[in-house]
Structures are given as structure tokens and as C-alpha cells.
């Protein structure tokens, strides 16, 4: 069985994020676009922890750039746990979640994402991704 924890496009965890999250930026004078997705599991009774040291190390969500040097840089993306936190978040920094995240809708963690293009280069940039650290999912 695969991990039940993952990214969802709704707080009720009914729609997994199955394809790339789209952000549209005008080539000139771009304006930051915010979006929120949720990290969690629809299965109550399961918990998620960092695989490195379960219950001690936090779960983290990082930004990877599969093709640094072209496309969008990781610094164009900010992550925060609240919409207000996006204002002070640092572009490209990983987001630190709790050490243990419970399953179930009520325990889902909102992940706020802000994208502001710095390239001003017309095109579609698919080089960035959100990725968690290695996770360990088990029964609570």
C-alpha cells in the first residue's frame, strides 16, 4: 500500500493533487499568486512522521528545482502555514510541519503557496516541485 498522506486540493481531502499546480503570471508586471493546498491523509488512525527520526525530526516540505539554470528558480516560490505567513516567508525555503501529523480531515495541514515570477520569460516552466522529506506512515 502506498502512502495515504499526500497533497490535496481541498480541505476535505477528497481531491488529491494529481497533476502540476498551475500558476499563471503575466510576462510584464507579474503579481504574486497565492494558492492553498492541504497535506494530510483521509484515513483517521494513521500518522505520518519523518523517516529519519520518527517523532523527533519534523515533517518538511521543500522546493526542488529539476533544472536550475532554466525555467523558474525555487526562490520564486514561498511556502507558509498561513496566508499571512507568506508575507514573511523566504522564497525557496522549506516549510517545517509538526513532528507528527495525524490522519483525518481535521488534522490536515494547510500549505500556502505564493508564486511570483522573476524570469519575465514567456513560456511554461515545469521544473519546480514540492516534495516532503522521507516519510514514515503507520497506525496511530
Amino acid at each position: 500500500m502506498a502512502l495515504s498522506f499526500g497533497f490535496y486540493s481541498d480541505a476535505a481531502l477528497t481531491t488529491p493533487v494529481a497533476s502540476r499546480l498551475r500558476f499563471v503570471q503575466p510576462v510584464a508586471d507579474p503579481v504574486a499568486v497565492d494558492r492553498v493546498i492541504w497535506f494530510g491523509s483521509p484515513l483517521p488512525g494513521r500518522v505520518c512522521q519523518a523517516g529519519s527520526d520518527p517523532g523527533v525530526d519534523p515533517v518538511t516540505i521543500g522546493i526542488t528545482d529539476a533544472d536550475s539554470g532554466s525555467g523558474s528558480p525555487a526562490g520564486d516560490v514561498r511556502l507558509a502555514l498561513t496566508s499571512g505567513g507568506l508575507d514573511t516567508a523566504v522564497g525557496g525555503d522549506p516549510l517545517v510541519l509538526p513532528e507528527t501529523i495525524a490522519g483525518g480531515v481535521a488534522a490536515a495541514v494547510a500549505v500556502h503557496i505564493r508564486v511570483l515570477d522573476s524570469t519575465h520569460a514567456s513560456g511554461v516552466h515545469n521544473d519546480l516541485s514540492l516534495i516532503t522529506n522521507a516519510l514514515r506512515e503507520a497506525d496511530a
Binding site: 499546480l21 498551475r22 488512525g45 508564486v115 519575465h120 519546480l128 516541485s129 514540492l130
Partner: protein, 610 residues
């Protein structure tokens, strides 16, 4: 053999139970940096390419026919596409799969990728003759409210625009029905809901400000502009909203009564009986529906010898005097209730031609136990703690101590609605007005302008757009979208329907307040005239008005000179008949009052020139 492990047994049936899993979770990002030139309809060529992901499979290369996506306010976004299945096994796996539909637009030097749809496959239909499968897809608009577990979650879905009223639309934690709660609240919002092309729940206000884009004649397809006026049935003459609040008008009336015995000489001459205190007290206690306020003041005769008259005396000993009522004064009170329905209402002119009665009504009732209030005897309600610990310094008793609250004003009435508070009332009033506002808004938004242009995925439900083409100049809010891409011919188009309401402002909203009407009830009940009625006497009236025969009824002693055997005799008693309560103060009552409210509907603009 190992003992049965009930924990392991139970655990085996746990949903999601599956031991330890490891891995990472990922979500790809796509940043589309777009030049507005890609949407220009200036001369030149534009290319497009769809990307359809079903589950984890990219089926873009297998598309056939058309891909059609449509969205509207307060409904699911749906998509239909046709593809060539790779194998028979694929046919079994489509339903329930996640689907995304993207389109990439190309102009020389420009590229833009947009998401058009995020949802799941609802149904697949395989046409054997053509070897094509048509997928009908839908987003999670219906499922999203159903997944809510609390009232707060449902209200959050409506972006704080809903007008809640726990009285009219309660949430039950014991039997939660999030779908019904959502539907009820949806009728109160000055806006609409939708899930956008990226699968994100959106709440948009029905506000119409400056358009984000204006499309001139060269930006829309020739002949695609339609102006649709509201149907007559959609625009009634007025919308009337009423809220009925049912409670009780609690009345209290009191009447002073008094009685004095006949002159002592009649005891000597006619042998009349005296009135025992116990009889007087029993008479006071026995008046139907009436009670004695405080304690009656009963005066005893002064012990002594009265007379002589004709050589006879009327002698009263101290012991006898203690048991005789020479006169009394008392205040009798009665409390009763009247069912009252206060109807708060407002009529919002819509200006339509239809005389259809378009009304919104709601009601709720007080749960006050009015029977208990009316019938509880005063004595039974006196707290023994109060009796044992009277206040210091002692106050002047009102005579109503121990009666259940509320205590109406003397000879007046109070309108009582039990546990219905003023905030409850205001919330309920606001909710019915909010429903009326939405009804009005929906009616006026039926005036629409529809147009089509080359595929334009920039606009979502609620976007404010303008068109100035073919003699039609209009500004409105996107209420319906349809994207159509024909894989075979390469044709692509977006059709937009703008709601162009004939409103009276830039925002849709309302204000509403109401206050409970007061009452001016004042009771002035006539006190009964309590006298002394002597039967079997030459002075006895043969046929007195029965209602006036009140007080002490007794008869002349047959041995006295005044005895008339033919005169009517009375049944000895002390008779008290209290006045009736007039019907208008007893029968169920309806009180009409108005709601102070203001409703504004965001206005679009529409001008047609030939």
C-alpha cells in the same frame, strides 16, 4: 494454541490499517509566464494543444472528437471528452480517476499553458463500433459540502457571506446534515460558489465594478453575441419576506373587592346567620382562575352585647368573634396568556411584470411553558429557603412573591418569547431578508449577454467583463463558461455568459433590523359588588339578575317575624363572580410589523444600438 488476541482481530478490520509505509509526497508546480499577446485576436495564427491526464496516464495523444468543459454558478464544472482506449482493460479503470485538462496556446514567440478542468471521471461510455470511449467528468462541487463535519466548516465554504440563524436553520451535532445546511445557507449569500479550473473552491460576490477586460468587435466571433432578457416569471412585481415569531402575551389583572356584614339588628330581628371566616376564606380561595394577592384583610366583630331590640340582644363572645367575618378587603388577581404571533415583513419591489406571488416566509416559536406559568399557585412556588431567610431589611411584600416569572405589569401585559433573544430575532430577520435579497438578485441577473471568442481560459466564474460589439455594449459578471476544443478540426472557442443585472449599485448586499413591537394593554376590570342577599324575606326580590347576586347569601330564620314562606330562598353561600376576560384579550393575536431593510443589487450595464 495461542490465545485469541481481540486487539489484533479488531485491528484487522481497521480502514487504512496496513502497517508501516514509507516514501515521499510530491506536488509538481507549473509556472506559466504569459504574454497577453497570446490571447490577441489580431491577425496571425494561434495553435493549441490539450493535455489530459486521467489518473496518472497522459491520454492527450489518444483524444478524438471534442473536449468540452462547462461551468456555471453554484454547480459542478463538467467536462466531456472522447478518446481511443489503449486496451479493453482501460475501460474498467476510468471511472473515479482524477482528471486534469490543460491547454497550451502557441503564438509565434508566445506560449501559455492553462488549466481548464480538475475533477474526476464520473462515467465512461464505450462505443464499440467506433472503438471510442467518452468520459463524463465532474468536479467535487457536490461532494465538498458533504465532506464538512461541522457548521463552521460549511460556513467557511461560503466565505463568510452566509447569513446564519440558529433558529431558522439550525445545525445538529447529533444528526449533522452538511448538505442541507449548505443548501440553506447558500440561499442567503449575495454571490455564488464554484470550483475553479484548478480545483479550488471559490466564493464570488455579486459585485460588478470595473471590467477586467473589454472585448471589442474584433475580439469576439461574428454573430455570437446574444442578449437574453429575463423571463417574465423570473422577475415578479415584488418579493415579500416574512418572519413569524410565535410567543405569548402574558396578562395580569387585579381587582379589589370588599364586603361588610349587615347591621347587627338584623341578626336579632330576622335571625340571620353570621358569616364564618372559613366560609369567606373558602369563597376567596375558590374563585375560578383568580387568586388572592397576599392575604385578605378579614375583620372580626368586636366582642360584646348589641341591643336590646324588642328586648333581645345580639351577644358575641371573644371566642365567637374570632371565627366570624364582619367585613373583609381583598385583592384578587388573575394571570392568563394569549398566543401572539408577531409577523415581521418587508416587500422589496422588483419592478417586474409578473404578478406571481414570490414570497419567502419563515417562522419559529418560543418554547416557554406558558401553562405552567399560568397555573402555578403562588404558595407552591415559594422557596422554603426564602421563607426561612427573609430579606434584611425586610421589604414590603408585593403579594406576588413566589409566582413564576415573568411578572407582567399590574393590570397590563408583557410580550414574552421565552428563550428567544434579541440576537436570535435579529439573526432570523437578517436571514429572511438575505434570502429575499438573493431571490431579487437571481431574478435581475437573468438579464444576460452571451458571446464567444477564441479559447480564453483566463476568466473564471465571477469575473467582470465587458463587450462592445455589434451594437451591444454591456458590462456584467461571468455566470457561465463553456470551452470547446475540437481535436479533429482544430477549432476552439470559449463562450461566456455575462449576468447583466438591472440593479442599483456596485455591490449586492442588504441591511436589516427589526424590533419587537411593544404593547399598550391596560386592564380595567370592574370589581363585583359584594352585598348581602337575604332570602325567604318579605323584602326578597322575586327575580333578581343572577349576575348581581353576589356576596353573602342567607335566609331569614323561619321563626322570625320577617319570614315569608313564599319568598325565594337562597342556598347559603358566599358567592363571588369575577368579570370575564374580553375575547380580544384571550384569543390568538397576530401583530404585524415591518422590517427596516435596504437591499442593493449590483448593476451591470447594457446598451443596444441599431
Amino acid at each position: 494454541m495461542a490465545a485469541f488476541d481481540s486487539g489484533s482481530f479488531d485491528h484487522a478490520f481497521d480502514i487504512g490499517g496496513g502497517g508501516v509505509e514509507t516514501g515521499t509526497a510530491t506536488a509538481g508546480l507549473s509556472v506559466s509566464v504569459v504574454s497577453p499577446l497570446v490571447f490577441s485576436s489580431a491577425s496571425g495564427s494561434i495553435g493549441w494543444s490539450p493535455t489530459v491526464i486521467v489518473g496518472a496516464a497522459d491520454v492527450s495523444a489518444r483524444l478524438s472528437g471534442s473536449v468540452r468543459i462547462s461551468a456555471a454558478e453554484d454547480s459542478a464544472r463538467v467536462a466531456a471528452l472522447t478518446l481511443i482506449p489503449a486496451s479493453a482493460a482501460d475501460l474498467e479503470g476510468y471511472e473515479g480517476q482524477a482528471v486534469t485538462i490543460d491547454v497550451t496556446l502557441f503564438r509565434p514567440g508566445q506560449t501559455a499553458t492553462w488549466r481548464l478542468f480538475t475533477g474526476t471521471v464520473e462515467r465512461s461510455e464505450f462505443a464499440l463500433a467506433e472503438r471510442l470511449v467518452t468520459l463524463s467528468c465532474r468536479d467535487g462541487w457536490q461532494e465538498r459540502p458533504a465532506a464538512c463535519a461541522s457548521a463552521a466548516q460549511v460556513e467557511a465554504l461560503l466565505g463568510g457571506l452566509a447569513t446564519t440563524s440558529g433558529r431558522l436553520l439550525p445545525w445538529s451535532d447529533a444528526e449533522p446534515d452538511p448538505v442541507a445546511y449548505f443548501s440553506g445557507l447558500l440561499e442567503t449569500i449575495p454571490g455564488a460558489t464554484a470550483i475553479d479550473s484548478s480545483g479550488v473552491w471559490q466564493v464570488v460576490r455579486w459585485d460588478i465594478g470595473t471590467p477586467e477586460e473589454t472585448f471589442a468587435a474584433g475580439e469576439v466571433f461574428d454573430g455570437s453575441v446574444d442578449v437574453i432578457t429575463a423571463a417574465r416569471a423570473d422577475v415578479p412585481e415584488a418579493v415579500r419576506a416574512t418572519l413569524a415569531v410565535r410567543g405569548h402575551r402574558l396578562h395580569s389583572a387585579e381587582v379589589d373587592i370588599d364586603w361588610t356584614a349587615v347591621d347587627y339588628s338584623l341578626y336579632i330581628l330576622q335571625g340571620l346567620p353570621v358569616l364564618p371566616k372559613t366560609t369567606a376564606q373558602a369563597a376567596l380561595d375558590g374563585v375560578p382562575d383568580w387568586n388572592t394577592r397576599g392575604d385578605p384583610v378579614i375583620v372580626e366583630p368586636t366582642p360584646g352585647s348589641y341591643g336590646p331590640i324588642g328586648g333581645s340582644y345580639y351577644v358575641v363572645s371573644a371566642d365567637q368573634a374570632a371565627a366570624i367575618c364582619q367585613s373583609f378587603e381583598a385583592t384578587l388577581y388573575r394571570r392568563w396568556y394569549q398566543e401572539v404571533e408577531v409577523v415581521y415583513s418587508i416587500t422589496i419591489d422588483l419592478g417586474g411584470a409578473s404578478s406571481r406571488d414570490d414570497s419567502i416566509s419563515a417562522a419559529f416559536s418560543s418554547d416557554f411553558d406558558v401553562s405552567e406559568w399560568e397555573s402555578a399557585p403562588r404558595e407552591a412556588s415559594v422557596s422554603p429557603i426564602y421563607s426561612a431567610n427573609p430579606p434584611h431589611p425586610p421589604g414590603t411584600p408585593t403579594g406576588y412573591e413566589g409566582l413564576p416569572a415573568p411578572i407582567p405589569p399590574t393590570n397590563g401585559a408583557v410580550d414574552h418569547f421565552g428563550d428567544i433573544t434579541t440576537p436570535d430575532l435579529q439573526a432570523a430577520v437578517a436571514q429572511v431578508v438575505a434570502r429575499a435579497m438573493r431571490r431579487v438578485g437571481e431574478g435581475r441577473r437573468q438579464r444576460r449577454v452571451r458571446f464567444a471568442r477564441p479559447l480564453d481560459p483566463r476568466w473564471e466564474i465571477g469575473a467582470v467583463l465587458a463587450i462592445d460589439s455589434g451594437g451591444v455594449a454591456a458590462t456584467g459578471q461571468v455566470s457561465e463558461i463553456e470551452h470547446d476544443m475540437d481535436i479533429d478540426s482544430g477549432a476552439m472557442a470559449s463562450s461566456f455568459t455575462l449576468a447583466v443585472p438591472d440593479g442599483d449599485g456596485e455591490v449586492t448586499g442588504f441591511t436589516a433590523t427589526a424590533s419587537a413591537p411593544g404593547n399598550t394593554v391596560a386592564h380595567t376590570l370592574d370589581a363585583p359588588d359584594l352585598g348581602n342577599w337575604i332570602g325567604s324575606s318579605y323584602d326578597t326580590l322575586p327575580d333578581p339578575d343572577e349576575d348581581t347576586v353576589q356576596g353573602f347569601l342567607c335566609n331569614v330564620d323561619p321563626r322570625s317575624d320577617g319570614y315569608d314562606v313564599e319568598a325565594p330562598a337562597y342556598v347559603p353561600q358566599f358567592r363571588i363572580v369575577m368579570p370575564d376576560i374580553p375575547a380580544p384579550l384571550r384569543d390568538p393575536l397576530t401583530v404585524e410589523t415591518t422590517i427596516s431593510a435596504a437591499v442593493t443589487i449590483a448593476s451591470g450595464s447594457l446598451e443596444i444600438t441599431f
